[in-house]
Symmetry: C2
Subunit: 487 residues, 2 copies
């Protein structure tokens, strides 16, 4: 019989964060390495989380008026070259198909690293008049970027994402769309994934290749490093001019459209692990957890088995009826302790234990994944179990957010000097967010990056702060910005 | 103001089926040609149909116990060569990535034409014991096959599909799985897509490269040609041996697993057009239609507009509440006739017209897409409109199936001689299904193919027919088989 003792403990998070991360991903069976360089396999446990993310995000995106579509995987190499900054940004990362059907191709095909070029080529065919605007499409697909150093979920050669692309009649409308999507992403991450964020404009150095402005949401991982969790780009007329996307306005004048593009990817799976995970493994917010509650029958004597399992199945039925994603772990040949560890590793938010004594007392024992020790354990009467579970799941969602928010707040400081900033980034906390005055000069940003490894993550929107001295050059600065070491 | 007269009529179906098909696909905005050879763009109208197919099929597949996962797009070229028949079948169709990140790759990567090889490589890592079986995964993804002659939805270089892959402890279990999925596909196509089918085993010549047996469902298109709509393969131990997928059985003996794979693709969109479409355009079964009912306000005088539009919006709300996918076409600047034509072209199953006289009489006029002329038109009291619409949509679903079934039955014959078979295949009806005795010899199948262009589409299961003479060689035949010219 497999037992607690059989289970090798994982590396503690505080000891080696990177090793801990990889072990959780593998042991929770979220993903596996593949025989293809830089590509991973999304195993059912991991893919089910992505399916929940997709379903919720898709609903929210469609509510904005965007429609899903699908564009070719391959892009003629010449297309990538049409927008000057775009080609510069993506050229080093391209995978290129040179042979098809046994013959060398006349023009090589690039495997899409992102689809601005091919989508905007089609937009040019479809957009004729102001009546055709706004045109808003979204695509769920795989993309490929040849990465030198890869890391499961965070940076892989192939990854999955959604990419939205919109065209508008006016600059204002496109700018509004860019910010509306940033807010959509922010609310999705904070409320659905329970991941607290900072957000805002990117510096020029961090802008998307081809964008006029890039906005992003940034989470803080358990090791004090920031992770870009989603981006929304205002493209201006850059691609409209490269692909000749023009419309006849109401005065019968030809005008270039104004555009946006925006995306989030399977990288969010990495964020979930690194924000919520602990030394027992994954901890999933109930909203996104494929299994929200697991029922473990507990019995020793053979005659106890049937009543215990029957009680578990009845609870299972009741919870299904109120919409809880629940399962019963009836496996034989493994101990309850082994099951506890396994479901904790997989991040199931709530465990329900039912044994002979529980049945006698007409209760079930509920064990929260978000709290350890006696605090996280309570007995609930069977007759109101469905309600207790529903309420607890909501509470766990809030609690995971609060824990992550407290950790982020604690790791966010306002250094007053370059030396303070350097000390923070070199400190044991791994850096965290430094909220500093910055004059906006690329040279000051560059100095921070070179000397502290921190980059500008986000410049908050609508700032209403007094002027202060740039943390690097001391010149007057109008804005504060968040700097951090980043993935 | 755009008018009926502005709309160019499409080529009649009876005049040039191929031209009619392309025009419907383009005019209904299901898809568009792309600048990449053999690749198409799925426009929102077409992709929304695919999303409905995905949602329903995914539910049904998950109910069998399969879980979704995602495997790499790229496959090392050497993997494809590991199963002898597989490489022979797929080599001529491969797209090959030779360069990544600006450098030539040591081993070229193939863009997946199907994923047996990469998935089975992973299965070999995951399967250790009989406890790990059955292992059942499904993947929704894009695949690439370098096709010489392409046709929108039916045969394109890149297409979208689901591919299921399972491993079992015994031959019987794998065979059962193969047939269970065939039945799942059959019921899905017939009940959800209203596409009548014949189904059964494939002949050796039509087998999947690497399978022991292939089973398929076959629809009959409006031009009398068959379309393979889905396949389910019993792989035996072919891939298990190529990839060394073995498990320890209950007696601690190493055994090779038994496997299946199965898939349906975006080709189903082509089947929907070619089975249900008519000279006015697409006709969609209500189950799969992105818009099930469209409400068109009809008014002439300015003062009529508000009460008519208000009534339309009220009906819209009522229909939304009972779960009908409905929209109101409030566009100004186009006539009702223009709107009628456009929604007919897009295949919306039911049109709801509301004008001042309807409001006065407290009715709405319902116009069915599946029936032309006065038959298809009826007035329904507003107070029970939601019920009428729900009932009508169900009736339209049945009616489209009945129409397609009648057409298929009429085009299915039992020729008694090779000459009758030849005459049927050369006839004006385009061939249809010929249900014939066939001895099973490849040489007889080859003769039919060469002289009539018909191939063996399906050999029905569990036949209980008396022996008869093979339609080619006259030798005793145990089975009947469906032959047809096919896409």
């Amino acid at each position: 019989m497999a037992d607690k003792a059989d289970e090798k403990k994982i590396t503690p998070r505080s000891q080696d964060f990177a090793a801990w991360y990889n072990e959780v991903v593998l042991r929770a069976e979220l993903a596996d390495y593949s025989p293809v360089r830089g590509c991973i396999v999304f195993r059912p446990q991991g893919f089910a989380i992505w399916e929940n993310i997709q379903a919720e995000l898709d609903r929210r995106i469609k509510r904005t008026g965007a429609q899903n579509a699908y564009f070719p995987l391959f892009i003629p190499e010449s297309f990538i070259r049409k927008e000057a900054t775009h080609v510069e940004g993506f050229s080093p990362e391209l995978a290129v198909v040179t042979h098809g059907g046994g013959k060398q191709l006349e023009e090589p095909l690039v495997v899409r690293p992102t689809s601005e070029t091919i989508i905007n080529y089609m937009f040019a065919q479809w957009i004729k008049s102001y009546r055709d605007l706004p045109l808003m499409v979204n695509q769920w697909c795989n993309v490929v970027r040849w990465e030198m150093r890869t890391r499961v979920f965070l940076r892989t050669t192939e990854f999955l994402w959604q990419e939205g692309h919109t065209a508008h009649a006016t600059r204002e409308e496109a700018e509004q769309e860019t910010l509306a999507i940033l807010e959509l992403y922010r609310d999705f991450c904070e409320s659905y994934l329970a991941i607290p964020l900072v957000w805002g404009r990117k510096s020029a150095a961090e802008r998307f290749a081809g964008a006029v402005e890039t906005y992003s949401i940034e989470g803080l991982m358990g090791d004090g490093r920031a992770l870009q969790c989603g981006t929304s780009h205002f493209l201006g007329q850059n691609f409209a001019r490269a692909f000749e996307i023009r419309y006849l306005d109401q005065n019968n004048q030809l005008q270039y459209v104004w555009q946006t593009s925006w995306g989030v990817s399977t990288r969010l799976l990495g964020a979930l692990v690194m924000v919520h995970g602990d030394d027992q493994g994954l901890r999933l917010p109930p909203t996104v957890a494929p299994t929200q509650a697991v029922i473990v029958p507990i019995w020793r004597k053979a005659e106890e088995r049937k009543p215990v399992v029957d009680a578990c199945r009845e609870v299972y039925q009741n919870l299904c009826q109120v919409g809880v994603r629940v399962r019963v772990d009836e496996r034989e040949g493994v101990t309850p302790g082994f099951k506890f560890n396994e479901w904790e590793m997989r991040g199931v938010p709530l465990r329900i234990e039912i044994g002979p004594r529980d049945i006698a007392a007409k209760v079930a024992t509920l064990v929260r994944r978000d709290q350890t020790g006696p605090q996280g354990k309570l007995a609930s009467p069977l007759e109101r179990l469905a309600q207790s579970v529903t309420e607890l799941l909501e509470d766990i969602q809030q609690s995971l957010y609060r824990q992550a928010k407290a950790a982020m707040d604690q790791a966010t400081t306002e250094p007053q000097s370059f030396e303070e900033l350097r000390a923070q980034m070199e400190g044991e906390g791994g850096g965290g967010f430094a909220n500093v005055y910055w004059c906006g000069q690329p040279s000051c940003e560059e100095k921070i990056r070179e000397e502290t490894k921190a980059s500008c993550r986000a410049i908050p929107l609508n700032q209403d702060v007094p002027q202060g001295p740039c943390i690097v050059c001391g010149q007057p600065a109008q804005e504060r910005a968040f700097f951090a070491k980043a993935y």
